[in-house]
Amino acid sequence: MEFFSQTYVALRGPTGAPQTAADTIGKLSDRLSPATLLADRRAAVLALKGLARDCKHDVGDRALPGLLEVLSNDAEVDAEIGKAVLETLNILCDVEEGLSTSKEVGFKHTDYVLANEKTVHILFALLGDSNFYTRLATLQYLSTLLQNRRQVVQSYFLKAPTGTGSVVSVLEDKREVIRNEAIMMVQGLISQSPDIQKVLAFEGAFEKLFNTVTQEGGVEGGAVANAALTCVDGLLRFNTSNQSYFRETPLPPVLCSLLLFPPSLQNRDSAPQEFALQFWDGQKQANATLVVGIIGMLIGTKGSSAQEASAFTRCLVEMALASNAPTPLKTQALRLLPSNLNFPLSEIVLTPYMPVPETNGEEWDRLEPASALDALTELALHGEYNGLESAKRIKEGLELRAAAVSVFENFVRKDEIKLAIVQAMLPTEDTGPSGVPMTPLLHALITPPSSTSSLDSASVTSTHLAALLFSHLLRSSPRAKSLARLITPPPASTHPEHGAGNFFVPADGAPPPPPPHPEFDDDEPPQTLLHILSENLSLSFLSRSRASTSDRESREWDRLVVGYLCLLSQWLWEDPESVRDFLDAGGFGVLVEPINQTSEVDSIVPALCAFLLGICYEFDREPGEITRTTIYPILSRLSVDTLVGRMARLREDDRFKAVGPDSVVLPYPSASYLQPSLKPETEDEGEIWFDWAFVDFWKSNYYTIQRGLSTEPDQLSSASGQNAETVMLVASLRDVIRNQSEEIERLQRQLKDRSSSQEDELIALKKQVDTLSSELQVSEERRRDTEKEQEDLLVLLDEVTSKRKRDKARLREAGQEVSEDEGDDDDDDDGNSE
């Protein structure tokens, strides 16, 4: 074969004497010149390829310029030489294999190749070549260059006369090997370059990539589907233009379909079982993680339609709360829910599932439908699958539960929702006090720590997480706090031990027997929640100090105490009435003791006790048995400096320091250097101490409390000037309101009196008017009658008079004498008056 003979000649040298590698490489490099025959050049390239791995440095040194020339002149014409030269260059620029010196050489060669844009432009032009080997080797070489010096390649690509079209078309090359290689290359090409991302999207990269994903079997697909989804993610993330464009395509619903979730599922319809129950393995989980990540990115950025957002949210909610997806995927789904969650969690009905024991996850029981909100609360309180694995306290499981708590916090950020949930824990009018509802949250919260048997860590976690949930309901909501003061839970013992709500039963099983009707002791009023919590706190303090307690167990008691103290601090903050209730329940004494007996082991419990004590003092503003004046001397005896010192140590504790908005779960046992005997029970055991909301609350308020501790009892409020002012203002406004309302009451009374007496008068007057007017009418009538009579008489008189005149005239005519006296009456009168 020509190739062998040529190489042989080159290696052996014309004289047959053995040569050094450097000599050979030099000779071969000379043959790369365009002056030699194509066949000779081809042979030389192949020979150099054979030497490239072992003599990377020398081959590069001598042959690189010639190789690049061959690439530029011959690769397009002769596929064989093209493939060989590309592969040789790839070896020379490779930085993956070998010693660090070899890597350095790889970078050096890369920089030489990338000294100008020429080679990169040739490579993108070669992508248009349909020859299998040319295309494949070009893609591989581009990937190598991108991996070594991404930004340089990208800037050359942006100036390449051709390229984008062929890049997108190789994404749908029918030959799988090429298509897969293209996806890998594009991953590098688009990385952190919005301009390249945009132009590839314009050229239809989304459609091509989704075609690949579906052809590969969606999330069931292997590494190729994974790479294609990674590309989709890369085109979208941090690129608002591409996100807007993507939303215009028919592709967003396909994301749901890839997870087997029907994108147009109505709120009233339930998710299909083929979505809820799937077989999962590592590859599928990795693929689904990418899909869920893209969905989360799209709902987390503005511009999605309400319809799209609601489908995506539903998909994530279903996956997290009612599916058998792997735990980390569920956690991811919850974390990606939009931070201003606007989803009707309490209206969506889910069907949760439970694995049938001993079936290795192959058979599942369908449980009673539950609202998404109930399922979320249940998940936080007890963990996945009704608390099946919660005793083990695996870190992953705790992460999921912490994520559920965050979603709950997010969901109840509106006051109305807080109030509605707290209200549901109060007796309604028609049930009366005996029908006090026991919600799963309330049940987990008040479950007393068992003081006899050793502590059940699953139940500690439930109570602790219940305290976190409950504090989200109360924090900075005065109205929720005052409602919560009225909660009087029924005795916890009357309820099943594992206080899950009764919606969590298998659909085909009978519901559990109703709890026996709680017997109320008529003498004692039912205890309030605040009272129960302070009792449980006291109980926990007692138990943790028992000598027989192991290190591990005493740590659990600490955790419980921390849970109660954090909740109480947030509850009593700025709420004098709750402070009053807590003090009346004997809370003060409970706090004082632990502050005094501090051990090296534990700094967070005394710190939190001091803080809560400070809150009690600061907000003890309601009249009662224990006033600020009572507390003040005790504070002095404990010494304010000591209290401040105790508080300061919290910030140094790893269990507090390590908490961030998204990192609540710590590996067990964190900050354990003080208790070397502590060992995790399982390899990946985790634990929770604080959530971010509390850390935030503490950081913004501890200073106010610290300064408040040294204020005189009669001083209105503490240090923080503004706060003092506010309290004073509120107090004076309260006075004003009280005075005003008294005044209003008085005026109203007067008004009422007055108006009633006026009414009587009015009635009397009316009556008078009535009689008067009827009298008037009678007299009027009478007057009218008289008038008429008079008139008649006058008429009669007139008639008589004229008759007399006529008669007299007639008599005169008849010559009889008639007296004139009457006829001259008037004249006579005048005369008479003279």
Partner: protein, 217 residues
């Protein structure tokens, strides 16, 4: 997730020198806003809008790409030309240079775009010439641009992204022209790269992955 409410999807590109107001025209079209100091890093370089073309009785979805950021490396802009049905070639009426440069932009378009691409020359920022009687700010006379557009077979309009004047009109005129080309059969079978006919229920009916059946007792 989306019903079909338009007859055609038309891909548009907006091109021209930096700072002539390409981004501003796009934002004016899609959001009816104007930003005096647009943040160039904001990257709002895609927008879409439904417009009605009364004389064709059609609803058209315009998908517009602002080729921003690529002014300095022209080459990649060419990729956009190939895939577009319409092009807004923008200059700034107060910048002679931006007008002169439209010649080379046009040459690029001619070289790389579909021959039937509709191009409208847009003289932006006319608001700056208002009440400017002696034309101190204006550097490109309307008549000159209009004449050149006619010679080159381009549509022409003067507009202002700031006041909104003629902005939508520019797109509507270009879109009508494309629709009339479609009607006259200039494109064979909607084959213009930038034109898509909306199909009834045009969802990509992607087959679901072969999910193995899980069992439920």
């Amino acid at each position: 997730m989306s019903g079909i409410t338009w007859h055609y999807v038309l891909k548009f590109i907006i091109t021209g020198d930096a700072a002539v107001g390409k981004s501003s025209l796009l934002i004016r079209l899609t959001d009816q806003r104007f930003l005096a100091n647009p943040d160039p890093t904001l990257g709002v370089e895609f927008g879409s809008k439904l417009i009605t073309i009364p004389e064709e009785d059609k609803i058209v979805k315009l998908q517009c790409w602002d080729t921003a950021g690529t002014e300095s490396f022209r080459s990649i802009t060419r990729s956009y030309y190939r895939g577009a049905a319409g092009c807004l070639l923008v200059y700034d009426v107060t910048s002679r240079k931006s007008f002169t440069n439209t010649r080379s932009w046009l040459a690029d378009v001619r070289e790389h775009a579909d021959p039937h691409l509709t191009c409208i020359l847009v003289g932006n920022k006319v608001d700056l010439c208002e009440g400017d009687l002696n034309g101190r700010r204006r550097e490109v006379p309307t008549e000159e641009a209009e004449l050149w557009a006619k010679e080159e077979g381009l549509l022409f309009v003067e507009a202002s992204a700031k006041s909104g004047q003629n902005v939508e009109d520019a797109f509507v005129r270009a879109a009508s022209d494309i629709l009339s080309k479609i009607r006259r059969g200039v494109f064979d079978d909607d084959r213009s790269p930038g034109v898509k006919l909306s199909k009834p229920n045009g969802d990509l009916a992607l087959e679901q992955g072969r999910a193995k059946q899980a069992c439920c007792s």
